[in-house]
Each structure stands twice: as C-alpha cells, then as structure tokens.
Amino acid sequence: MPDLLLQKGDLQLLFDRLSGDGFRLVGPTVSQEAIVYDEIASVGDLPRGWTDVQAPGSYRLEPRSDEAFFGYVVGPHSWKKYLFPPLATLLTADRTDSGWAMHAPPEPTEKYAFIGVRACELAAIKVQDRVFLEGAYVDPIYKARRDRCFIVAVNCTQAAATCFCTSMNTGPRCQAGFDLALTELSAAFIVEAGSDSGRQVCGQLPLREATPAERAAAEAARAQAVAGISKRLETEGIRDLLLTNLEHPRWADVAARCLSCANCTMVCPTCFCSSVGEVTDLKGDHVERQRQWDSCFNVDFSRMNGGVVRNDVRSRYRQWLTHKLASWIDQFGQSGCVGCGRCITWCPVAIDLTEEVAALREPGP
C-alpha cells in the first residue's frame, strides 16, 4: 500500500472511525504540567502547540511556535499502564461451607485505541509481549488487553536530549507493530498502514496518495529526529561487560547517588515486576488477590525467609542495570532497554544509565 495523505482537519474522522468501531481512545493530553496518556474524546484533547524539554532529572512543558499535534517526545507515562495495569485483580476467593470458591475476574470489556505511539514504545510493547505472551506461561491480564488494542503510531520528528533509540535500534522510525503510523507535516499527516485492520480503517477515511514532494517532506521531518539524537549507549559486548563486572567500584559510586526510589522502573515501558497481595474484608470471607506494579529497588522485593537478598542500594541498582541491559538478553533474546530515556529524565537526582554504562567500561582502579 502506498503512503497516503490525511488532511489535519480530517484527523477527527480517524478518531470517529475508531470510536465507531468500539475503541476507547487513549492518547496524549496535557495534565499536571506534562504530556500524559489519558482517555481522549476528540482532537481537541491533544497537546496541540505544546512540547517538552527534557534533561536528566528535568522535564518542562513548553509552548511551541507552531500548532503541531504531536510535537513532543515521550512523557512520564507509557502504554504499559493500559496493557499491564498498575493494579489488577488476579483472583477472588469466597469462603463457602466446604472451603473456598475461587474465581478469575471477568475479562475486560473495553478495547483501546492507542493514539501517538512512538517507535521506542512499539519496541517496548514488543519487549513486554515477549515477557507476558511468548514464554512458557501467558499472563491472562496482559493478553486480554493486548489482543484488543489498536495502535496508531506517530513517527518522531524531534528528539529529546535524553533519547537514545538509535543506539538500541528501536527508532525513531516506526517499522512494525502498528496498525497505522502517522508522520506529521505542517498541514497533513502521511499515513502508513501496518496491518489488515489498519488498511481497513484507511479504506474508510478520505485519504489520497501522497505526492513525492509530500513523501520527501515526511522523510525530512523524520530525519530531524535522527539528527536531534545526541545521547548514545554503546551496546557492543554489553551483556558480558555488565555480567563480568559485578564487583566494579562504580556500583558503589552510583549507590551513593541513587535514592532507590523506583521511579526509573515505574516509568520504564518495559519493566514488568509486580507483587501480589491479599485484600480482604475484616472477617476474611471475601478475598481479592491483587497484583500491583513493584520494583527491584524496594527492600522487601527480595525478602525471603532468612533475610533480604539485595539489602543495599548498590545491589539493587546493579540488579536493575544488569537485568535491563544484560540478563534480559539471556532471558528474552533482546535488550530490556528501548532507549526512550524516561529513566534518565524522571530520576529525581538525574542518574543517567548511559553514563553509568560508560563508567563501567572503564576498568576499576
């Protein structure tokens, strides 16, 4: 299918089409002085005219000089909150005369269309697909949500100072894993379809084939993103580098700065750790088994009979970095990092994993 052109004024028609097909739209909106993902009703909810300025430990929402809908990079939220909800009920148990009656929670009825998924985020969804769908066991909660979602990707036309998708081979160009992908030009979007459902939706929209000039403009816009990426993570031999340097002095150095607050793991679109807890009434007759996001940065995360395994910040930071960038490769055949830069921006004390890796490349004294 050739590249198609959607006039900006017709973006709402795409939204209407998806709503008409029963999708609830979630996309970028401005809230709490950031661009966050939330349910949207119309193009009016998009962060038109806003952008983000990011640096290690800092994010600022700022107005843009133009009226771009998607003129920002990535914010504090990722799509995992819809696919792998921060809180989910796994099981309910009710006391009966003969013991317990246990039930799986009902499957969700809603289906979501994600609007504005970036290339690194497509990669992150793929990473979580590997974790939740492609192993020996399938997570029913993730699967029920993932099976039903429709993805409208957007190609980045700019980059933040914290982005390094080019190092991780995940972007900025959306290659696969979407139903539709848009590239924003000043007056229109170039639309690519990446799936049958995407092509079907295209068939119902007033699209025309893009001219070579328009295609070139899109190419140029996307190239700006590539040009804007300044951060780099050297991935050559990274698995062995990290796993053979488990006693490197740098771990103690970063531990002096790291707050072990878990922010990096919360904002990371691929981190998947969770804990299970019991929620009961006072009599304990009705019980819900709930799963919540958790993090390897929490002291109790590795608690077991006999004590806590990772009982200092050093071992916890080491767990995070080595898992993300090294042992993830053993476990899932790919890196756990997609280069989105969130953990750098949202670290309250500006720790930058690319700098930590660079330091680990230096031999210890």
Partner: protein
C-alpha cells in the same frame, strides 16, 4: 457473572483447591501435610518430578512456595513438609485435617535423576532442605540397582532439626547410606558434630568423575558443599543445587526470583552448578 473455574494451565493464577488429608508432625515447627485434590479430574492429571514445588495459597493470608516431598509415584495424595516461617506457613499450621486451601503447580525444574544412572550419588541436605530431596531418595530406593554408591549427608543445627529420622533406618536398609551431623551438640547426642560439608570432606569418593552431587539447604551451606565437591574432583557439571528466592508468581512473570539471568521459579529451583556458579557466588545478586 464469572463462571467457576475449572483449573487449567491456561491461566497461571488459577488455583486448584486441596484438602488436608493428614498431618504428620516431624520436628519442632515442621510437619508433613498430605493434600488431596477436591476435584478428581485435577487429581488424575496431577504429576510432578522430584525437586519441583507448588504454590500453596491461603486466601487472605498469601502464597508460599513449597517443594513436594512426596513419593514421585504418588497418586491422589501428595505430601509437603513445611516449616513455620511466617504468615502463610503459620496460618497453615493452624488449619487442621480437612482444612481447604489453594494450590498451583507443579512448577520449576527437577533433579537430574536420569543423569544419576550408573553413577554414585551424594545428596547433601541442610535442615528443611531435605524435603525436596526426599522424592529423590524414594526414586533411588525404588530403582536401587540402576545406581552406584548412594549417600545422604544430612546436617541440622541441632539434633532436634534432623528430618525424617524415623525413615533413616529403612533408607539405610534399602541402600542409601544416611549420615547425620549437627552444628550444636546436645546431651543425648553421640553422633557427628560439624556441618554436612565436614561429612563430605571425610566421605570416600572412589570415582569422583562418575559421581553426582545434589544439594539443598541454606545458600552458604550449598556454597561450601560445592566448593568441597569441586576440590574432591567432582566436575561442576555433576553438581546440582536447589536455590530459594522470593517468589510471587512462580511462572516467570513477576520478576522477584531473579538470580542473575535465571528465574529461579522456572529455570530452577534446581540448577546445574556450572550454569549458576558465576551468579550464585556474588553476594546480594
């Protein structure tokens, strides 16, 4: 409305319900529980391999990973030997015979019994670590003629911590030489004093290259056991350990049990030593 579940492998969070059929007190704070499935179909389907574990679920209290200590050929009733450690095990200890709880499993890797054929086998167990090795003992006894010299070295903190002592005579008679030792001696104790590693050091090893060692116990104990075995000439590929980590899902989805690149719940708990050694040795990993 949600339909009552028929437990399947489809949703790894679903539980079977099991009833406590019998409780056998072992040592102080430890008892063996025999469970029966309330659903006969589930009972017919259920099988496990020595070394595997179940997640036992007490609604409102939580789940705990517990190894099967049953005979591997068991049908309809499966036993677990459980030490009171915290919330779940405590609440379980308060349930009597007939008590009903949830069970998911079996999960995890198993002891390499097939690799043991034709070889000498040493089992080294520390305290409750003997529980997951008991199914191995049963298998070795059942197929005694397929194995060489069989030894069980069992250590505990004190004489009161030695497990399954009432079975030791049968095991000895059946061809598994049981040696016990304690860290701290007591008035009526005239056996060995010291760790199981001391017993290992003293054990004659006629053909180390043809000996398999399986160990389960506290991390430090397994550590020194592995070191001693290597020094005695056992190849690292013939040492196996069973690791313990915090587990919440038991199916590789929650991240808690990672030990380096391994998920202890699915890649373990039983690991070949040469695979796990680079990580097992690192403190706080």
């Amino acid at each position: 409305m949600t339909a009552p579940l028929s437990p399947t492998v489809g949703n790894p969070w679903l539980c079977h319900t099991v009833r406590i059929a019998a409780i056998t007190p072992e040592i102080s704070g430890v008892a063996t529980y025999d469970f029966e499935f309330t659903d006969p179909d589930a009972a017919n389907r259920y099988q496990f391999r020595p070394g595997q574990f179940n997640m036992l679920y007490l609604p409102g209290v939580g789940e705990a990973a517990i190894s099967l200590s049953a005979h591997p050929a068991a049908r309809r009733r499966w036993s677990h030997t459980i030490r009171v450690a915290g919330n779940v095990t405590q609440a379980l200890a308060q349930l009597g015979t007939g008590g009903v709880l949830g069970l998911r499993g079996p999960f995890g890797s198993s002891w390499p019994i097939d690799d043991c054929r034709g070889r000498d086998v040493i089992l080294v167990a520390g305290g409750i670590g003997l529980a997951p090795l008991r199914p191995v003992v049963y298998r070795l006894l059942a197929e005694r003629s397929h194995f060489g010299q069989l030894t069980l070295l069992h250590g505990a903190r004190s004489p009161g911590g030695l497990l399954y002592t009432r079975e030791h005579a049968t095991w000895n008679a059946g061809g598994v030489a049981v040696q016990t030792t304690v860290d701290r001696t007591a008035a009526d104790w005239n056996g060995n004093v010291g760790t199981a590693v001391v017993l290992l050091d003293r054990l004659p090893l006629p053909r180390p290259e043809n000996t398999v060692l399986l160990t389960c116990g506290p991390d430090v104990m397994m550590h020194f056991t592995a070191r001693a075995a290597l020094q005695r000439g056992l190849p690292a590929s013939q040492l196996w350990i069973s690791a313990e980590r915090n587990m919440q899902c038991a199916v590789g989805l929650c991240g808690h049990c990672q030990l380096g690149p391994e998920f202890v719940c699915q890649d373990g708990p039983v690991f070949r030593y040469d695979r796990i050694a680079p990580f097992f040795r690192v403190e706080g990993l």
